[in-house]
Amino acid sequence: MGATRGRSVGGVGGGREAEAAEVAEVAAGAEVAGEAGMAKSSGENGPRAPAAAGSLSGTRENLAQGPDAATADELSSLGSDSEANGFVEHRIDKFGFIVGSQGAEDSLEEVPLEVLRQRESKWLDMLNNWDKWMAKKHKKIRLRCQKGIPPSLRGRAWQYLSGGKVKLQQNPGKFDELDMSPGDPKWLDVIERDLHRQFPFHEMFVSRGGHGQQDLFRVLKAYTLYRPEEGYCQAQAPIAAVLLMHMPAEQAFWCLVQICEKYLPGYYSEKLEAIQLDGEILFSLLQKVSPVAHKHLSRQKIDPLLYMTEWFMCAFARTLPWSSVLRVWDMFFCEGVKIIFRVGLVLLKHALGSPEKLKACQGQYETIEQLRSLNPKIMQEAFLVQEVVELPITERQIEREHLIQLRRWQETRGELQCRSPPRLHGAKAILDAEPSLRGALQPSPSIRLPPDVPLPSSKAKPKPPKQAQKEQKRTKASGHLDKLPAPGQATAVTAGGDACAPQDVTLKNPASQDPAPQDSAPQDLAHHCSQESLTSQDSEDTYL
């Protein structure tokens, strides 16, 4: 399986101890998440099962001292999915994959224990005071995401960063409601056929009809009910599976919703136009990042879709070694699609970016082969993350390129057929755009009301006046202006709301220089074309 090619797994000698430590860390995560109101009972989900039986006190240190066999036995005796399928004998690595199932293993880059403990306490502090951190020290959060979220808190952090947690709180019982509904048979069949095809060597998903696959079914089915017009796209399954490795089904569902609607809108929709556009954007950006690689790919007439479709649609979950996948996702949840572009660019640059490298791939096939079996060194966690962090590709560049490619698309292929909501560049932009904080669902982004006017709302909670006032300040700070979509224009462009990128996006529609924020529920947004700029420097809203 490509997902974890070259992935590293615990060393021979210390494997069990590493497992033990990981169980302890997961335990801590499960415990914390439990406090936060996890809906699903523990003791059902493979690796999480023994975890829940532990406690926060089960740290790496004291568990690691225990007898070697304890962890492995514990894992199987508590009803993990692998047991049902006769995989009890297999050792499971710290990520839940069957050891040896993923091909070559390189050395683990272990974070020293003391550092990990420090990070955990820092992250706990952040998570417990999330609004303040997001409002005042967003850059610090970004930095810590770049360093890697501690495994014990990763699932929780992803929920906070993506806004999945807020969504869940805004929609209590919604998932259960969707979960109880029978669903459209058309989608059920497709989903069912894909269940056993996601990470079949992960302990959670190894057994047919096991808990992991059941949860995967629930999450994906719920999404088809939540967005019947979108339905199910096969590339959503690996995304949902990665989420389920870190959180229960209900939480995973809301994170999936956020990914599909905020981070990567349109990626999974009918016609797949968004991914095709991003292929063009990626290729264009490559010219800046690595002219050599760009020239080679142009000369070979290799369509970006040939190599980037799976990369982008699965957010590299099927491409990179597992430790790198997690680090990339940590940054992706914080900074948005920019990270996906950067990872793609870094891989292309290092695979094809020099004349020596190109000697080995003179033909189209050799080139694609080179991109399909990437050198493990360039995918290795520390190297890749460093390169991604340093690559000077900003949201602004991506958005500018988006406009260019969109125009080209319209000239050559006409209007987009699927109208997607604007892409939000990461946690901060999502928070700032979060409609519930403004208290209302509006039928259309083009209708504007004073922000403190209470609106009838079906789902969202009413907005406290204090928050409303805050919003008036939004989008002014950077001289950023909201743009109204031209009638019938099916574009959705967001200028980045990330503090790291200076904002000076050229206005395309001077008639709509309205600094008022555009309120709109994502439920409605999906049907509207809108262009929004979302920038905010101040937000002390408490929503948790």
Binding site: Q234, L272, L305, E310, Q362, Q364, Y365
Partner: protein
Amino acid sequence: PPRPADFKLQVIIIGSRGVGKTSLMERFTDDTFCEACKSTVGVDFKIKTVELRGKKIRLQIWDTAGQERFNSITSAYYRSAKGIILVYDITKKETFDDLPKWMKMIDKYASEDAELLLVGNKLDCEMDREVSRQQGEKFAQQITGMRFCEASAKDNFNVDEIFLKLVDDILKKMPLDVLRNELSNSILSLQPEPEVPPELPPPRPHVRCC
């Protein structure tokens, strides 16, 4: 050193999701079978060199995502294919019922002279059969020049035959000058390939690992 291929051909595998397109390809190219094969996102391809009629042919096999919404991406790869393998699952009636939709895709995007082969896969699941062999045959008969066979990627039954038969049909159809032309126009032929010798010996299919 192995002598370079005489020429190159492109074949595309299409069909509804989960019918075993990737499995057929991997069985043929790598002689492997994965029970839990990951679903294909977008397009993928593999290369295998086969020897047929005394010629060494570098076969490029395009594997496509079966879900309908990927058609917008996969359709671009129909045009250059000299052979099209349309797959359904004999244990899933709906994948057979989808065939007319796939024929529409072929009509719309594929080259008119592409060889067509209909494959009923998963013959190893005879017990769960929902589509009879006759149904498959009948469907193929309605379409000019379409061949039909049943196969099992899992049991490695008829898999090599599928690809070799298709390649053989493609070769038979091609006049030699076209073959030469193919060679020079191939998107894969950046490295010069030797010319095809003037005569073809009698067909003696023989698969050789590349």
